[in-house]
Each structure stands twice: as structure tokens, then as C-alpha cells.
């Protein structure tokens, strides 16, 4: 059972690695976007799927990573990835630390609402103050480089760099999930009271997870800003928080590969519903299709796409579904 999971993930990464050989520039751009979404979704999976903290404000860290990229980049010469990337992740992680410190004092529904509110706060800062460039947004004039080795202005280099980040983060999170820290987080998800009764101070664990998650979202934001060369306050819109939640539930909560599958499925659904060829005049109302798809997927795919084979097998064979421990 384990090996088929590993094989699936390895196959995904292999396909992604080989894709540039056959893809045109549009395809590569689309695939880069999906990989960035996947990174974003992975950050949320750590929080929601693994630790059980339903955060509805993940876009704040993504947006801050993106804005930091543009605001910290120099206009005169390409900035070095070596300091720009960590700085952007640190900015996102810093806000995550702040938001987490306050919102983790709340539970359940409160937590959902508070994280949403703090993300909205970041949105207003970007939207209403000159810091965020207002509704027009800001352009990234010079894309970062790593000496002469990597020039992220090149589409292929950016693609490869994004893929590398995705593989590293995926691997890192996989290690984290099976570490003592990861097991403690899982325990907090399943029964926080028991964890406390056993002697774990749960608040620092949750805060650490929240901050790491924010850093990864910041990384995704950095890559997105570099890819588009442009940021605007809409990147902090709470609808993006909703979108990334949809990605992980569509893919399957509780599995890292769910984030990969979900990001891909979400991007496809978006393209599908936006397609004028299929929907004609309704295409500009693609949110309708998306909304219905979300509702349908929550009802029909309780374990997400990743759990679909198991769900079908149980249906066809009539056997009780074995729980993945």
C-alpha cells in the first residue's frame, strides 16, 4: 500500500520534470502555476489536514511573500535569491507568528473567523495604503538571480526552480509528518485534551506548525510574484484562502499527495469552467460552476480524489473501508 503511494508521487514529479521537453511556453507557465498552487496547498495541508487547524486566512502569508518579493527587490540590478527568498519567507513567517500567537488562543469556529479577519487586515493594508500600490498593484522590474547559475527571468529556469522547491518541501513535510513533532501535531488533531493530559503544552506546537505553514505559503508567494512579475492586493483576497482550502479538500485531506492532486484538479476545473468553447456565454460566470463543484465534492468525495479509488472499491466490493492509519 505504501509503495503505490510513493510510486504515485514519484511518477508525478517525474512527469513534471519531463514536461518542459514537450510543452510550449503556455503549457510551462500553466504547469508552473499549478506547482505554485501545490506548494500553497501543501502549506495549508500541514495546518488543516495534519494538525486539524482550519485556517481561512492562508492567503495573507502567500500575499505577504509575494509583496515582499516585489518591495524588497532592487530596481537597479537583479536581487540575489540567496537573501531575497529567505527574507520573503521570513516576512510571511513573521506575520504567521503574530497571527498565530493571537488566533491560537481561540478554538473551533472562532479560529476560522479570526484567521479570516487577520487575512482581511493584510488585504486592507495592501489595498488602502501606498505600501501595497493600491488597486493597481506593483511590478517586479528585475527578477532575482542566483549569481550566474540561475536567472529566474528564464521560464525554464523558473520552472525547474519551482519544481525543486516543490520536491524539497514535499520531502521535508513527509519527514516532518513522521517525526516526533509531526506525531505530536497529529495527536493534537485527534485529541488535544489527551495530549495536554499527557504532558504536551499544545500551544507552542500549534504555533510552530502555523509559522512553518506561513513560511511555505510565503515561498509560494515569492515564486508567484517572480512568475507573473506583478503583484496586486487581489492576491490577498479571502477568495484565494477559500480556493486553497478547496484544493486540499478536493485532493484529499490528510495526505500530502492530496495537495498535489487537488491543486492540479482545481486548476483544471478553473480552466474548464472558464472555457467559452464549452459554456459559451456562461463562461464568465465560471464561479457558478466552481461553487457547485465544491458543494458536490464535499458531499460526494468525502475523502477527496486521493480517496476515490478506496471509495469506489468499497462501493463495488461492499467491504468496510479500511482506515489509513
Amino acid at each position: 500500500m505504501r509503495y503505490s503511494r510513493h510510486a504515485f508521487v514519484a511518477a508525478c514529479f517525474l512527469l513534471l520534470a519531463l514536461f518542459p521537453l514537450v510543452a510550449g511556453s503556455y503549457g510551462m507557465d500553466f504547469a508552473t502555476k499549478i506547482m505554485i498552487y501545490a506548494l500553497f496547498a501543501l502549506s495549508l495541508e500541514l495546518l488543516v489536514g495534519h494538525t486539524g487547524l482550519v485556517c481561512f486566512g492562508q492567503t495573507a502569508f502567500f500575499g505577504i511573500g509575494a509583496f515582499a518579493t516585489v518591495l524588497l527587490s532592487s530596481d537597479t540590478a537583479p536581487s540575489s535569491i540567496a537573501w531575497l527568498l529567505p527574507a520573503c519567507m521570513a516576512a510571511a513567517a513573521g506575520y504567521a507568528l503574530l497571527v498565530g500567537a493571537l488566533s491560537l488562543r481561540t478554538r473551533g469556529v472562532y479560529f476560522i473567523m479570526v484567521t479570516l479577519a487577520f487575512a482581511q487586515m493584510a488585504y486592507y493594508v495592501a489595498h488602502d495604503t501606498p505600501l501595497g500600490g493600491g488597486t493597481d498593484g506593483i511590478y517586479l522590474t528585475l527578477k532575482p538571480v542566483l549569481g550566474t547559475l540561475l536567472d529566474l527571468d528564464q521560464a525554464r529556469t523558473l520552472y525547474g526552480f519551482t519544481l525543486a522547491c516543490l520536491v524539497l518541501v514535499f520531502g521535508g513535510l513527509a519527514l516532518l509528518k513522521r517525526s516526533r513533532f509531526g506525531h505530536a501535531l497529529a495527536g493534537i488533531r485527534v485529541n488535544e485534551q489527551r495530549m495536554r493530559a499527557t504532558g504536551f503544552s499544545t500551544y507552542p506546537y500549534k504555533l510552530a506548525a502555523f509559522t512553518v505553514s506561513g513560511a511555505i505559503a510565503g515561498l509560494a508567494g515569492f515564486l508567484f510574484a517572480v512568475k507573473d512579475g506583478f503583484v496586486n492586493p487581489e492576491m490577498l483576497s479571502w477568495h484565494l484562502s477559500g480556493a486553497v482550502l478547496i484544493m486540499i479538500i478536493l485532493g484529499g485531506i490528510g495526505h500530502l499527495r492530496g495537495a498535489l492532486v487537488g491543486a492540479f484538479a482545481f486548476a483544471l476545473l478553473q480552466e474548464l469552467f472558464k472555457s467559452e468553447a464549452l459554456f459559451g456565454a456562461l463562461a464568465k460566470h465560471w464561479h457558478l460552476g466552481l461553487g457547485l463543484a465544491i458543494i458536490a465534492s464535499v458531499v460526494l468525495l468525502p475523502r477527496g480524489l486521493v480517496g476515490l479509488p478506496g471509495q469506489l472499491r468499497a462501493r463495488l466490493l461492499g467491504s468496510p473501508q479500511a482506515k489509513e492509519v
Binding site: V54, I246, I294
Partner: protein, 293 residues
């Protein structure tokens, strides 16, 4: 700031706060009693505003009614909508976890937004203040205050009083309070809990729709208004404590003050002040001002 302007801002703060309370009370009721977090609640507010705009002509031509007739028709439609929506959709959410509720109601927001877009379009509209309430009151020597805004405050206060009376003095209110404390017990006592929930939900929707209708002449009617009011309502609920009507009122008024005076005194930071307030209150007490009764 001279006295007249100060008074005007206070009245504005009161009006905004009370309107917010009205919408937030529906949200906190639905969560407190049925345990459902409903992201689409802001959409009902938006629907109300668009109804005020879109229903005015047909109501006028059908039975010559004006603003108040439109309000009545809107509220009746809202009750029906709430009833049907609870039966068809929300009743399935009671047993689901918060994440699923969040996502399903988020999907509902998207559906509502697009349906509205298909039926009425995305343009921004104004709604006329009814002639009866179009006057203004003199405040001091040079300032005047629109009567309509006082009307809004009046409606909200009247509804708040009505809610309080229903909860504390009627059998229905008693059953609702009991149902929120112990669902199974109330069911086993023979109370039709499904019907109760449907009534509560329909009432919550109707209140939000009414708030939107009443606010339309002042706030104008635009696509994003549901989102904005939803998130501020969340802040109201967090600050006031979930399930607490009293807390929602206090929090809404507080936010009304901070927002109104913030816009005047610190225009740049106006949007952020409400969240700073929330952060400060969370620092002081994570459960908000009042825990649920």
C-alpha cells in the same frame, strides 16, 4: 471637531453598529442554536439590497406600493427562501464538521453571486429613499441629519427589542433556547426540532435580507457588499462571543464607533482599525466579551 459634527458621527456610528448587529445576530443565532457556521450569511444581506432595487418596479406596477410594500414583499420572499434553503441544503450541514460547513457555504456564496450576476447584472445601483423619510432634522445651527438614517436605527432597535421579547417571553423563544442548550433532550420532549430549526433559520435569513433592504438607500447596491459585511460580522461575533446576542450588540456598537470615527480621524488606516480592535480584545480575552449564555 465641533459638537454638531461629533453628534453626526455618533449617530452614524450608532446606525452602522445597529445595522451590523442585525446581520450579525442572525449569524450568531444560527451558529449558537444549530451549530452551523454559515459563510453565505453575507449573501443574504446582499440579496436584500438587490431586492430593494429589483423589486421596487414590479411592486409599484403590481399594487402601486412604494418602499414599505417592497420591504414587506422582500421579507416574505426571504422567509420562503430561508425555509426552502434550510430544508434543501442547510439541514444536511448540522452533523458535518466545521471545515465541510465552511466549504459548502462558501460554494453557496459563489452560486448566489453568480445567480445574482445572471439575473440582475453586476452594475452598482442606487435605491431611492422613500419620500416620507427623505427629510432631515436640524442639529444645531448649520448641520442637518437625514431622517432616513434615524429610521434605519429605529428599525434595528425595534427588531432587536422584538428578538429579545420573543426569546425571553414566548414559548417559541423558550424552545429555541432549550434547543440550543440540549438538542436531544428537547427532541425527546416531543418538540419538533426540525421545524424549530427551520423557523430560526428562516428568521435569520429574513433579518439579514431586511437589513440589506433597509440599508440599500444609504450604502448603495454593489456586488461585493455581501463579502464586506460578512467579514465584519465575523469580527462582531468573535469580539462579542459566539451565541451571545448581548455580546453581538455591544461588539457591533463598538465596531460602529471605531469604524466611523476611524474613517474621520485616520482615513488611511480606517479599514484596518476594526481588526486591530479585534486583536486587542483577543489579547485580553480569547472568548470575547461574553461567553454564550
Amino acid at each position: 471637531m465641533d459638537l454638531a459634527i461629533f453628534l453626526i458621527q455618533c449617530l452614524n456610528a450608532l446606525q452602522y453598529g445597529l445595522l451590523l448587529f442585525l446581520v450579525a445576530s442572525g449569524l450568531t443565532l444560527i451558529f449558537g442554536i444549530m451549530g452551523v457556521i454559515n459563510l453565505a450569511h453575507g449573501s443574504f444581506y446582499m440579496l436584500g439590497a438587490y431586492m430593494a432595487y429589483a423589486l421596487a418596479p414590479p411592486v409599484a406596477s403590481a399594487f402601486g406600493g412604494g418602499f414599505f410594500a417592497t420591504l414587506l414583499v422582500g421579507v416574505l420572499l426571504a422567509v420562503v427562501l430561508g425555509y426552502v434553503l434550510e430544508w434543501a441544503f442547510f439541514s444536511f450541514l448540522y452533523t458535518r464538521e466545521h471545515l465541510q460547513q465552511v466549504l459548502m457555504t462558501y460554494g453557496l456564496i459563489l452560486v448566489f453571486e453568480e445567480l445574482r450576476s445572471l439575473l440582475v447584472g453586476d452594475a452598482v445601483h442606487g435605491v431611492e429613499v422613500p419620500p416620507l423619510l427623505a427629510g432631515s432634522l436640524a442639529l444645531g445651527e448649520t448641520m442637518r441629519y437625514p431622517v432616513y438614517r434615524l429610521f434605519i436605527s429605529g428599525v434595528c432597535l425595534a427588531l432587536a427589542l422584538a428578538m429579545y421579547l420573543v426569546f425571553s417571553r414566548t414559548r417559541l423563544g423558550m424552545m429555541i433556547r432549550a434547543g440550543s442548550a440540549n438538542r436531544e433532550m428537547v427532541q425527546s420532549l416531543g418538540v419538533d426540532i426540525k421545524f424549530l430549526y427551520r423557523v430560526v433559520f428562516a428568521a435569520g435569513v429574513a433579518i439579514a435580507v431586511l437589513a440589506g433592504m433597509v440599508a440599500a438607500p444609504v450604502s448603495s447596491v454593489y456586488p461585493g457588499m455581501g463579502d464586506t459585511v460578512l467579514i465584519v460580522c465575523f469580527v462582531v461575533v468573535v469580539i462579542g462571543g459566539i451565541g451571545s446576542i448581548r455580546g453581538a450588540l455591544l461588539a457591533a456598537l463598538l465596531i460602529g464607533l471605531v469604524d466611523t470615527f476611524g474613517k474621520v480621524l485616520f482615513p488611511q488606516a480606517a479599514g484596518v482599525l476594526v481588526y486591530v480592535l479585534m486583536a486587542l480584545i483577543l489579547l485580553w480575552n480569547p472568548d470575547g466579551l461574553f461567553k454564550a449564555a
